[in-house]
């Protein structure tokens, strides 16, 4: 038997379906054409420099003398729109390896050929990784913010720590205007 809320959901969805009616044409097409003519031809494609994640070579690791943190460089470039499964790293390729007892500074590099006033960026960790700040793990699983980007490389350092050995993906989303890119950085946490 359905619950009252399920019934309400069903009723609401049935009502919403009724809104799927083709609107009358009016002079929509003619007005649209006029506006397209006034707008001029499509803009040239932006020259986002497209870098590939350096998964085909050894991860860049730098061990500080104190041994507290390690640095891993993960690069991706702002490219064009929507999910691009072909750009997701192969599951067997790891961008960085870090011991479970250490804090890793993952440097995400947003690379653009043109300066951008405002880019929206979100970094999301799997449950097995934690953001790290002021000597403690943060409860947040995701951070998002906007920032300007300069032409060229824009490194964003993010301190993370692994809870237990395994391979984990850090999800990175960025959006500039209408362009959106999603990418992942694969980290391997090892015992130690």
């Amino acid at each position: 038997m359905s619950s009252p809320s399920e019934n309400e959901d069903h009723d609401l969805r049935a009502r919403l379906r009724q809104l799927r009616v083709d609107p009358p044409p009016r002079d929509f097409g003619a007005t649209l054409r006029q506006r397209l003519v006034e707008a001029g031809p499509p803009l040239p494609a932006p020259r986002w420099r497209r870098l590939h994640l350096p998964f085909d070579r050894a991860p860049r690791l730098a061990w500080p003398a104190a041994g507290i943190a390690l640095g891993a460089a993960a690069f991706f470039a702002l490219s064009l729109l929507q999910p691009k499964p072909e750009r997701v790293a192969p599951a067997t390729t790891v961008a960085a390896i870090l011991p479970a007892t250490k804090i890793a500074v993952v440097r995400i590099n947003l690379s653009a050929e043109l300066a951008v006033d405002s880019a929206w960026i979100r970094v999301t960790l799997p449950p097995e990784l934690s953001f790290w700040a002021d000597g403690r793990a943060l409860p947040q699983r995701s951070f998002e913010w906007t920032q300007p980007l300069r032409s060229g490389d824009n490194e964003i350092p993010i301190a993370v720590r692994g809870q237990r050995p395994g391979r984990y993906r850090i999800a990175v989303n960025a959006r500039i205007g209408d362009e959106q890119v999603q990418d992942e950085v694969l980290l391997e946490v090892v015992a130690g």
């Binding site: 919403l16 809104l19 799927r20 609107p23 397209l36 499509p42 803009l43 494609a45 932006p46 729109l81």
Partner: protein, 212 residues
């Protein structure tokens, strides 16, 4: 439309052929116009907003590089244009928007309308309520519940995970129900009180027909 024909149209449109662009988007116009209705200040502004979004699609057509289906790419751009327009007028929205309560007062004190008029008023109430659902939930409700897109399609258009789409739908519907309950007599839309006029199972969105 065959893939080759679609690619040819995209290529021509990317070079500035307006007729090719019109042919390219012709099949999407009803959805774009309905989608715009949920984001416009009023019905009268919906077509203007839809055209504005389509002009933006045209201007940015060279960004399309076949890494997503054209329809998903188109709807993603259109959605972003609507969201930007909504955010841009956030400060003036409150004063320009028609209050939801007006409809209620008319219903309570007016002559009982015939079925067609009642249906038109019901739709109008729904659209007006939809416009007051927070924008991050609204597009999911429109795309899934009105347009019949699948979870995956909505996720692609919105650039989020399927789980996020489900959460947005749940919260969007809850918000919408709350708005409607505030303006409608309870008996008018309680479970089983009536079927929506003109209900046609064959017109149900694809995901409902598939039983998901």
């Amino acid at each position: 439309m065959h893939r080759e024909d679609l690619d040819a149209l995209i290529g021509h449109a990317q070079e500035g052929d307006i007729r090719a662009f019109e042919a390219l988007v012709a099949g999407h116009l009803p959805l774009v116009r309905r989608f715009a209705r949920a984001f416009a200040v009023s019905d009268a502004d919906a077509d203007d907003l839809a055209q504005e979004a389509l002009v933006r699609v045209y201007k940015h057509l060279r960004l399309f590089r076949y890494q997503a289906s054209f329809s998903s790419w188109l709807y993603a751009l259109v959605r972003n244009a609507f969201l930007d327009a909504e955010k841009g007028r956030a400060g003036t929205r409150r004063t320009r928007e028609e209050p939801l309560g007006v409809e209620h007062e008319e219903r309570a004190g007016g002559v009982r309308p015939d079925d067609a008029l009642e249906r038109a008023q019901d739709e109008e109430r729904l659209w007006r309520a939809l416009r007051q659902v927070p924008i991050e939930f609204r597009s999911a409700v429109v795309l899934f519940d009105i347009e019949g897109c699948t979870y995956d399609e909505v996720a692609t258009i919105e650039g989020v995970a399927v789980g996020t789409v489900k959460s947005r739908l749940h919260r969007g519907r809850a918000h919408l129900r709350g708005l409607l309950e505030a303006i409608e007599p309870r008996a008018a839309h309680s479970a089983g009180a009536r079927s929506p006029p003109g209900t046609d199972v064959s017109a149900a969105p694809s995901h409902l027909r598939r039983g998901s």
